[in-house]
Symmetry: C2
Subunit: 223 residues, 2 copies
């Protein structure tokens, strides 16, 4: 479970603990104990508790990069190649969002990141810059590009950007409000059946949202 070198052990433990509790909710003693390193190792490797937290942010960027990198690169390539039709853009967008739903929501590891990310959204620290530049901005750029082609507008058009945010909100809500959703639906956790139901609804919404922009063609499977 725990990595060999103390540095990695500390980062991985910190990812868990800072995610579960917040920065202030975790003590350096707790971190050292769980990571099975000496308390002084935090100062040695990271300078301070804050330094460790920033290292965790960079770790998140790396993880997300491994996770999304290949997919984003593929889409970016299609965008650069130009001459994507509305239909092709729509299908690429659907694939990307399906990936978020079936993977991001499913993996328990991603829950760790996501809590840290959303806390940084609510109360940004220095770590937010790392996260934003590391993967938020690039991801948004790809989504802007796809939606811009679907609706036939420019990538920096306000409507395009708001459309992207609102669409991502439909998925994020399942990460951000898990407690009330799970309580209301009597779900203890997300499983393949749950995720399939969520996927269907989101895909159906997407079809509706862009039905005017495309030519009435509904290619995404909604059930």
């Amino acid at each position: 479970m725990l990595a060999d070198d103390p540095r990695t052990r500390l980062i991985e433990t910190a990812l868990d603990l800072f995610g579960q509790y917040s920065f202030d909710g975790v003590s350096t003693r707790m971190l050292a104990e769980r990571a099975e390193v000496n308390l002084a190792a935090i100062k040695y490797y990271f300078g301070s508790k804050e330094g460790l937290y920033l290292a965790v942010a960079e770790q998140i960027v790396q993880h997300v990069g491994q996770f999304l990198g290949p997919r984003m690169a593929k889409v970016q390539e299609s965008l650069d190649g130009d001459e994507l039709t509305k239909e092709e853009s729509f299908n690429l967008l659907c694939e990307l969002l399906e990936f978020f739903i079936t993977r991001l929501l499913a993996l328990p590891e991603t829950g760790k990141w996501l809590k840290i990310i959303f806390r940084e959204q609510l109360c940004p620290t220095q770590a937010f810059d790392i996260l934003f530049d590391g993967f938020m901005r690039p991801l948004d750029q790809v989504l802007f590009g796809l939606v811009a082609r679907i609706v036939g507008r420019n990538e920096d058009d306000l409507e395009v950007r708001l459309r992207v945010f609102s669409i991502m909100g439909q998925i994020q809500v399942f990460n951000v409000s898990p407690s009330s959703i799970k309580r209301t639906l009597n779900w203890d956790q997300y499983n393949p059946d749950n995720l399939e139901a969520i996927r269907c609804v989101i895909m159906d919404n997407l079809n509706g949202i862009f039905s005017m922009s495309r030519n009435g063609v509904c290619s995404a499977q909604t059930r």
Copy 2:
């Protein structure tokens, strides 16, 4: 600015501070100083720091109740009266969501609640029960009722509920990811122009999402 009695002063100060920082990020000394009460008053009135935090949750429920109560009651009345058409239900839903956008996002005070609420979603404590029973469940019930009528299904239908969550997610994202949205759009804060743009996009999405369910009639103004 500060209320007369120490009890109220403490609750209002705590609402601010627990919202801005988290529970762990705020000390009792900070609370007492800002509320201009003695440190011992926290124990006297609330028993402990946790007790004060729970009192804050109840305060949030009260505030939200004053805010949403009349509107929810009106809609609930329509639902109970029965024989709402799809079109009427859709219009009631639009009105409710427009209210969330133009009011909830606009008021700086609501930002205080919202941070506490979302932190409780991510890491529920005893306070979550208060919030959930206090207004989340009732609000969801109303939304389930409206959407159920729009799509012609039962209120406890899974698809209906997921549809409601996904729709609310479109709005919540502007509360939950304010940092990246504001940074991307170069917005320093939400103002009437911003909110109008958001409202248009959400209403347009809503029209699309429910375009199959209703009879092709688009009554909501999207611009």
